[in-house]
């Protein structure tokens, strides 16, 4: 009896170990190929809202899925504006961008994430591809102010995921900032960050995130989620991108006017002060903070391959700003664009000459606005691609 018990225990333990090793093997396998089918963007059901945290290897595969030697990868990062909220899947601005740039020399990939900043997600994928020698142009957006770092936002898991998998460029300034930031955190918050870092450290060895997300995308979901009700257990591959056409113009700007105006004003409020003669003077401290932050957030090889858009709110709201506020906006945007450019990042304003119809709401672009953005970005991409930087890589990796 005891011998039977003992051998059944050994079988169970051996089975557990083999099962575990089998899962690790499958994790490595899926990390090598798993990615969403016919990918256009990380729509809501493939996002944090849907408890789906695209692992870094999946994002890298998406970036390289349509690439072939001789092509430049135009990687789109940033927030919901770049993601294309307000544009249904078939009329998303990055389609238009691809069309304008042509298939022969460019591959456009939209890895922008709702609520992400310019340094998160796509920026890290671009960095990883640059490290491997791929020709990459990274396009993202921001608003006036200093760029937040990649390790302290909603998508911070991507930073730790990439970091522990050794995908990022050597960047001692950022690592020093991370250490200093962690040391300043409250104990409970520090524990959360350490737990996340430990999870990603484990994943760098075991690849469970890749396996889990592959299963969730292809086979079944084990996590209840209101976004995919009532069929929350079904694989995400069965769900489509739900982004609708924006409503007709007369129904478009229905959000609280007061709140929207507060946000629109907030873009430049506090970044400049009015001089005696009514001329706005941009806060030197803010510009200095920006010039200090850029080289600590974006590594040098990424900065030279990057296009940054400083976007404006819809003219529906800008038209309601006072002349003084409009002058402040103009001064601040101009100064921040100049400072970004001085720091080595090609930067331009977008939206200040758009019409109300080009916006789906206060900040997101409608298909017509997306088309205008694509036109402008295509011009900038081609200008950047014509520089020496890309001549050396053309035709090779």
């Amino acid at each position: 009896m005891k011998t039977a018990q003992r051998s059944s225990a050994y079988f169970l333990l051996a089975g557990t170990v083999l099962g575990f090793l089998g899962c690790v093997f499958l994790g490595y396998q899926t990390a090598n190929y798993s990615k969403p089918k016919n990918f256009k963007r990380f729509y809501q059901r493939l996002s944090l809202d849907g408890q789906f945290f695209p692992p870094f290897p999946m994002q890298e595969h998406l970036a390289l899925a349509r690439w072939s030697p001789g092509k430049i990868i135009v990687l789109v990062g940033g927030d919901s504006v770049m993601h294309g909220i307000g544009q249904p899947e078939e009329r998303i601005w990055t389609h238009e961008l691809q069309k304008r740039l042509g298939e022969r020399r460019y591959v456009v990939v939209n890895l922008a994430l709702r609520g992400a900043n310019a340094a998160e997600g796509g920026a890290l994928v671009a960095e990883a591809l640059i490290k491997q020698g791929f020709p990459v142009i990274y396009v993202a957006n921001a608003r006036p102010g200093s760029p937040p770092p990649a390790y302290d936002g909603a998508y911070r898991y991507i930073y730790w995921d990439a970091f522990y998998k050794g995908r990022l460029l050597p960047f001692p300034e950022r690592e020093a900032d991370v250490a200093a930031w962690i040391s300043r955190l409250r104990p409970d918050e520090r524990r959360k960050v350490e737990e996340l870092a430990l999870a990603e450290r484990f994943d760098s060895l075991l690849r469970f995130q890749s396996l889990w997300h592959h299963v969730t995308y292809r086979h079944f979901s084990a996590t209840w989620n209101s976004i995919v009700l009532p069929r929350w257990w079904e694989p995400r591959i069965r769900f489509t991108d739900p982004e609708p056409e924006p409503p007709p113009l007369e129904y478009r700007y229905r959000a609280s006017e007061e709140e929207m105006m507060r946000i629109a004003r907030g873009y430049t409020e506090g970044l400049a002060r009015a001089g005696k003669d009514g001329v706005w003077v941009v806060d030197r401290g803010a510009l200095e903070a920006l010039s200090r932050a850029i080289p600590r957030v974006f590594p040098a090889p990424l900065r030279t391959r990057m296009l940054l858009i400083l976007h404006h709110s819809s003219p529906h709201y800008l038209a309601k700003l006072s002349p003084a506020e409009l002058r402040r906006d103009a001064t601040v945007y101009e100064s921040f664009v100049r400072q970004w450019n001085l720091s080595g990042v090609r930067t331009f304003e977008l939206g200040n000459d758009f019409d109300e119809i080009d916006y789906a709401d206060r900040v997101h672009l409608s298909p017509s606005g997306g088309s205008k953005m694509a036109q402008r970005v295509a011009r900038e991409v081609e200008a950047l691609a014509a520089t020496e930087l890309f001549k050396t890589t053309e035709g090779g990796k």
Partner: protein
Amino acid sequence: MIFNTYWFLAFIGVFFPVYWFGFSRTFRAIWLLAACVVFQFHFAGLVGALPILVLGAITYLCALSRKPLLCAISIVLSVLALIFYKYTAFLSQELLARLHPALAGWAAKDAARLLPSVPPLGISFFVFEFVHYLVEIRRGGEPLRKPLDFALFALFFPSMVAGPIKRYRAFSESLQEGLPNVSPSDVAEGFKRLAMGFAKKMLVADNLTLAIRYYEERLGELSRGELWLFVAALAARILFDFSGYSDMAIGIARMMGIRLPENFNYPYLARNISDFWSRWHISLSSWIRDYIYIPLGGNRHGFARRVVNGFVAFALCGLWHGAAWNFVLWGLWHGAGLVTQAAFERLCGPSLGAVLRKLRVLSWALTLLFVCLGWLLFFYPPEKAWWIATRLFLPR
């Protein structure tokens, strides 16, 4: 939830291989104690660990002296520590403020300044185990003489956060037996239990939690049938969450060759309230029976005294779960259930009582309904619980 953190995974990943391949009983015991201390300091920090260590030292020394007075003082200290860390805010805001507002103001401001932001990790469990130990010593039990044995009883990490509440004799025996003889069967059985606990917690309870959070903001939109499903989800969530946690604790201990007491035994199959309490959080209910209900007189002094004792014991049981009125009401709800059950059996007489006992499905359904309605009081403030309960039964 501590057992599903990556830190804990790394922790047991280091702990177990050394423990299993440890060359002697003493080595394993010291290694286990070191692990318990690391666990406590990691999750509770110095501020959280210190009160437990001080209380533990006092408990150990007082018990060692075997002097009833010292044991009684130590019991009072433990209970006061529990009240201070867990109930100061509740007592000052809810009770003292009505009796003596000035004193309540002092308690809220000055005493609260001394309190850590959260009570020391597992203080309710520590205090209940220390009180049990000291009472048993007062009753003539043999104290744990070796500091190592007592420290392992006090700080045993698998049961530190959510029980089961251990009894020192059974634990000590299991420790003596398990430390030198951990077998592959223990490891396999423990692992199965751990996996079961994880599945209960992560696959069932955590998903139910997500759904409950979503629907509790939309209760007004639910039909009556959906509202019943919501209550069923509440009942299932707490069972799978808590019993999952207990399974993990029992499983981890078993992987060391140590057996912890069972805490759940299919409680939703109970056919009356006393049956429910012999199946639900068994280590707590038996503690309350042994150290509150029976010392108060139990059912030895007539029906009226039995009723009072039952209400006191259950009110304290409710309060143990959290410092808020809804927990007290939940305890009283169960106290009322037990009194009703006892009164019913008395009124019906033995023959009708026997007939009723044979209606198994009916008694099971009534018990389950009673328990499920009780969960409304456990999870929500009384007004909201009442609002849900009325919509379960009455037309809108």
